[in-house]
């Protein structure tokens, strides 16, 4: 399962990426810090899953990335990993197309578990995908 991480903090990119290293069948194919970087990365790589932060560089907002994905890449799933976790915010994000919302400081393990489960469920198509010559 190809995964893209969008977060303005390089430290977080590195640390969360380190946590995902041990998850089987998850491949972190890239990281982005702002909306433009995220869009070009996603358009280029067409990932299966995006882990999205909401506060991005230059005051940009992750919602713009989410909209782009739901419009241009309907197959791609998005989960939110952010320091903003109010219920209203959550509901809005879920309504906009995110599958889940996790708190960056306290729920990053839940997020990793969700990704691992998703990767396991997607084993069959992933195996087929991986069998394909690339």
């Amino acid at each position: 399962m190809k995964l893209v991480l969008v977060d303005d903090s390089v430290a977080v990119q590195r640390s969360f990426g380190g946590l995902l290293e041990l998850v089987p069948r998850v491949e972190l194919i890239g990281c982005a810090e702002d909306v433009a970087g995220a869009r070009s990365l996603i358009d280029a790589s067409d990932p299966d899953l995006i882990v999205l932060d909401l506060e991005l560089r230059h005051g940009e907002h992750g919602m713009d990335v989410l909209r782009h994905v739901t419009q241009q890449h309907p197959r791609t799933k998005v989960i939110v990993l952010s320091n903003f976790t109010g219920q209203r915010y959550r509901d809005e994000l879920l309504a906009a197309g995110a599958l889940e919302c996790f708190d960056k400081s306290s729920q990053f393990l839940l997020a990793r578990d969700w990704i691992a489960q998703r990767a396991a469920l997607a084993m069959e198509p992933a195996a087929q995908g991986s069998a394909r010559p690339s």
Partner: protein, 913 residues
């Protein structure tokens, strides 16, 4: 004409009467003739009938003879015998009838002979027949004598008849001729009568016409006469009515006149007097009549009076007044002398000269005039002492009273050069309403007050037409009510509030700036918070989250036996160190600890070092003489200056492209701090207003104002920019800062700084200030009292009394004349500390240290908070006028007093009134 007609008519009528008499006579004559004729005709007829009868009787006799002769029967002789008798009678009657007619006499005589002859024949025959025989008788007859006699008789009778008829016919013809004559006469007379009647008719008709004309003329004349009579009657009636009315009036006036009326004759003896005269001279009415006029005049004026009377009697004046120019003195019965005004007239009636004198006791008036003069003097003294312009206008707009301040207020040189009627002012002044529109004359305060409006602090802008000088006047105005409630004038006070308005405007502007400053500070604060939040998020939160993730990863790696845990731990350490640095930086930005710990000088030095480090420009701090932290006073001042310097350096760093930056700090000995930041960069364009906002210049300026100072910026393209701040260090110990102190100053000393007024030693004015001052203060809408130099209340106005009555003190026991107002204020200050400044201000005015004290104080009512202005002004002689004016929620003129009602009952400072 009339008479002529009468004569003519009389003559004609007489002729007619005569004619008629003739006619009647003629007619009577004719009638008698006719009657005679008829009688004659009857006579003729009778003669003829008698002759006829005689003939028939003869025939009867003959017939009877013949019948007897034929029959021999005796019975046939009956008629004969009867006939003989009758014949004699008839013959006798005929004789009587023809008696007097000679022509008939012959005939009658012959007839008688013949009848006798016949009778004889008859008697013979019969006798023959009887005695002899019939034949003999018959033979006699045959002899024919009888027949001849009979024929003879017939002839005589016929003759008689015819002669009678003939004679009758002759007489008849004469009569007819007579009648015809009479007829002619009658016709003639009748014609004459008819003519005369016609004449008469004509005369009558003409007379009638004449009479009708005459009548019409008479009627017209009569009507004219009647009209004239009616006219004169009505004139007369009117005259009589007027006369009666006049008389009644005169009598009424005479009787009921308040003035004494006396009528005296030429000898100066009083012949009539009314009751008022008796009352005036304090004697019985009866005593006046018959008395000499001199009795009513003091002896020393007798001679002068006599001269006056003589001069008057000979002069042309029918009536004149005495005493208008000189005093006329009367003498009452009880010996009292009194001033009076007299008007005298004289009248000649029937050769007698009468003088009527109307006398009016002017004692009261002269007293009133004296009182009025005195009051006016007092009023003018009071007005002169007032610093506000005060003027009183009558209903015609004439300024009957105004003070010196009035002249000053209107920019006149002195009182004498003031225009004294409202009508003159439009040529001198222009008046503008609050909205800037020019006010027409009827909107000026005097016409307003004369219409019954009143107002407090109504502001108008005035402009002299000659000099163009313009100023703002705050007017109080009110109508002056007369005794009957009608408006008899207007009282107006005015004060030049131009300076106050300027201060108020500055205050308002300052207030607006303060609002901006507060808003700006709020914005700055919000932005700072945002920035801090972002820094916390960007730095701390992310670092801590990463550290947690790495810690978990380390644990997992240790658990799984992987050997890259030390690398992760090293990263955790780096992240932690970065987090600590971030925290320190954030905290330091929030509260410059160096400023607090080491003072402004050290903090500015550090700032310079940081700036150099950040931008590469040479930045240094230069301390001017007197610059030390000890001089800088409060932390607020240091912090403010630090922030200004920080902002200035930020601007330099962002925009100036400067290579040298200098911060200068100095303190002057009179307590001013100067901070100045100069750079040699591109300079700021001060013409571009956007720079002021965008470069944070406004923020710096506002900070400077918040410190009670000023910020100046000089900028030029080639010389860079300099920012200079001047702030005071020494702040009054009693107040928290200049800004906080300013409202107190503005409210308590509206008149501006005032030099102490010498006046404590001046003599006290009379206790009685007089009615005019009372009526002036009564006309004022606010509650006004007048105090003496010790603070005792001398008089209060109507509004004051009304207020006291509403608050349960109708007799003004707690706060009215006789009460010391300072005591009232002292008592109030014991429970209400905010009264203390009022007490102080009041004392200052009464002591002469201030001429005016004014303050605005609030009164809390359950409904709302209301504001009052208390104004204390000194008046000549240590007096003071205190007024409380309800400002309500606005200070616009509203034309009524409703803003006063029901407010103060619960007001905390109601005890002051």
């Amino acid at each position: 004409m009339n008479l002529g007609f009468d004569r003519k008519a009389l003559a004609v009528a007489a002729v007619v009467v005569l004619g008629i008499g003739a006619l009647v006579a003629l007619s009577l004559q004719s009638q008698s003739q006719l009657r005679h004729d008829v009688a004659e005709l009857d006579h003729v007829g009778e003669i003829q009938a008698q002759t006829q009868r005689i003939y028939i009787t003869l025939l009867d006799l003959e017939t009877s003879q013949r019948g007897y002769l034929l029959t021999q029967e005796a019975e046939y002789l009956g008629p004969y015998q009867a006939g003989l008798e009758r014949l004699h009678a008839e013959a006798e009657r005929l004789s009587a009838l023809v008696a007097g007619q000679p022509e008939e006499g012959a005939d009658l005589a012959r007839l008688r002979g013949l009848i006798d002859e016949k009778l004889a024949e008859l008697a013979q025959t019969i006798a023959v027949a009887q005695t002899r025989d019939v034949g003999a008788a018959l033979a006699v007859i045959r002899q024919g004598q009888g027949k001849a006699v009979m024929d003879e008789i017939r002839t005589v009778l016929a003759h008689m008849q015819s002669s009678e008829a003939q004679a009758h016919e002759l007489r008849d013809a004469a009569r007819i001729a007579s009648i015809d004559r009479a007829k002619r006469y009658i016709a003639l007379l009748a014609t004459a009568m008819a003519l005369l009647l016609l004449t008469l008719a004509v005369l009558v008709r003409r007379d009638k016409t004449l009479r009708a004309q005459q009548r019409q003329a008479d009627q017209a004349a009569r009507q004219e006469l009647e009209r004239r009579v009616a006219e004169r009657t009505s004139d007369l009636e009117a005259a009589l009515h007027a006369l009666a009315l006049g008389k009644a009036r005169l009598q009424g006036i005479f009787d009921s006149a308040a003035d004494a009326i006396l009528t005296a004759n030429a000898q100066q003896i009083i012949v009539a007097a009314n009751e008022s005269a008796a009352t005036l001279f304090r004697c019985a009415h009866a005593d006046l009549i018959g008395a000499s006029l001199e009795r009513l005049i003091p002896v020393r004026f007798h001679e002068a009076h006599r001269r006056d009377v003589e001069a008057f009697g000979s002069g042309d004046d029918r009536a004149r007044h005495m005493g208008r120019t000189k005093q006329v003195v009367g003498l009452r019965a009880d010996g009292e002398e009194f001033p009076l005004e007299a008007s005298i007239s004289h009248l000649e009636t029937g050769g007698e000269r009468l003088y009527t004198v109307i006398l009016h006791d002017v004692t009261q008036r002269r007293q009133d005039e004296a009182t009025l003069r005195e009051s006016k003097t007092q009023l003018e003294a009071a007005l002169a002492s007032m610093s506000d312009a005060v003027f009183i206008s009558d209903t015609e707009g004439r300024f009957v009273n105004f003070n010196k301040a009035f002249a000053t207020f209107h920019r006149f040189k002195d009182k004498a050069s003031c225009a004294r009627t409202l009508a003159e002012y439009p040529a001198i002044l222009e008046v503008f309403l609050a909205n800037g529109e020019q006010a027409p004359l009827e909107e000026w305060v005097v016409p307003r007050a004369l219409r019954g409006e009143s107002a407090v602090n109504a502001e108008f802008t005035l402009r002299r037409r000659d000099t163009g000088e313009s100023w703002i006047g705050a007017y109080n105005y009110a109508p002056i009510p007369g005794e009957d409630g009608s408006i008899v004038g207007a009282v107006v006070t005015a004060r030049d509030v131009t300076a106050i308005k300027r201060v108020q405007a500055e205050l308002a502007a300052s207030h607006t700036t303060l609002q901006h400053l507060l808003a700006n500070q709020h914005r700055i604060q919000e932005e700072e918070r945002k920035r801090i939040a972002r820094e916390l998020h960007d730095d701390l939160q992310q670092s801590l989250a990463a550290i947690r993730m790495d810690a978990v990863a380390v644990g997992e790696r240790i658990a799984s036996g992987r050997g890259d845990a030390p690398a992760l731990l090293a990263r955790i350490d780096r992240l932690s160190a970065a987090a600590i640095a971030s925290t320190r930086r954030i905290v330091s930005d929030l509260r410059p600890e160096m400023l607090e710990d080491l003072g402004l000088l050290a903090a500015l030095e550090a700032m310079c070092a940081q700036h150099t480090e950040r931008t590469g420009a040479a930045c240094r701090l230069e301390l001017l003489p007197g610059a030390s932290d000890a001089q800088l006073g409060t932390a607020a001042l240091s912090a403010g200056l630090y922030r200004i310097a920080q902002e200035a350096l930020n601007n330099v760093a962002k925009h100036a492209q400067a290579t040298v930056v200098t911060i200068r700090l100095g303190c002057s000995h009179d307590g001013l701090v100067m901070l100045r930041i100069d750079d040699n960069g591109v300079g700021v364009n001060l013409q571009d207003q956007r720079h002021l906002g965008s470069f944070g210049l406004r923020g710096m300026a506002e900070r400077a104002r918040a410190l009670g100072g000023q910020l100046r910026i000089h900028g030029a393209a080639d010389t860079g920019t300099s920012v200079e701040v001047l702030v005071p260090t020494l702040v009054p110990a009693t107040a928290s800062g200049p800004m906080a102190a300013q409202p107190d100053w503005a409210l308590h000393n509206l008149g501006g700084p005032v030099a102490p007024v010498p006046g404590a030693g001046l003599p006290r004015p009379p206790d009685e200030l007089g009615q005019p001052l009372q009526s002036v203060i009564d006309a004022l809408a606010g509650q006004v009292c007048v105090l003496d130099e010790r603070g005792e209340i001398l008089m209060v106005n109507r509004a004051w009394r009304q207020f006291a009555a509403r608050n349960g003190d109708p007799d003004l026991r707690s706060c009215g004349p006789g009460v010391n107002y300072l005591d009232v204020c002292r008592r109030s200050a014991e429970t209400d500390h905010s009264t203390a400044p009022i007490l102080q201000g009041l004392n200052e005015v009464l002591d002469g240290r201030q001429s005016v004290f004014s303050t605005i104080y609030p009164c809390d009512t359950p409904e709302s908070k209301l504001w009052f202005r208390m104004h204390v002004a000194s008046v000549t002689g240590g007096l003071a006028i205190v007024s409380h004016v309800d400002l309500g929620s606005h200070v616009e003129p509203d034309g009524n007093d409703s803003n006063e009602t029901g407010l103060h009952g619960r007001a905390s400072k109601s005890a002051l009134r």
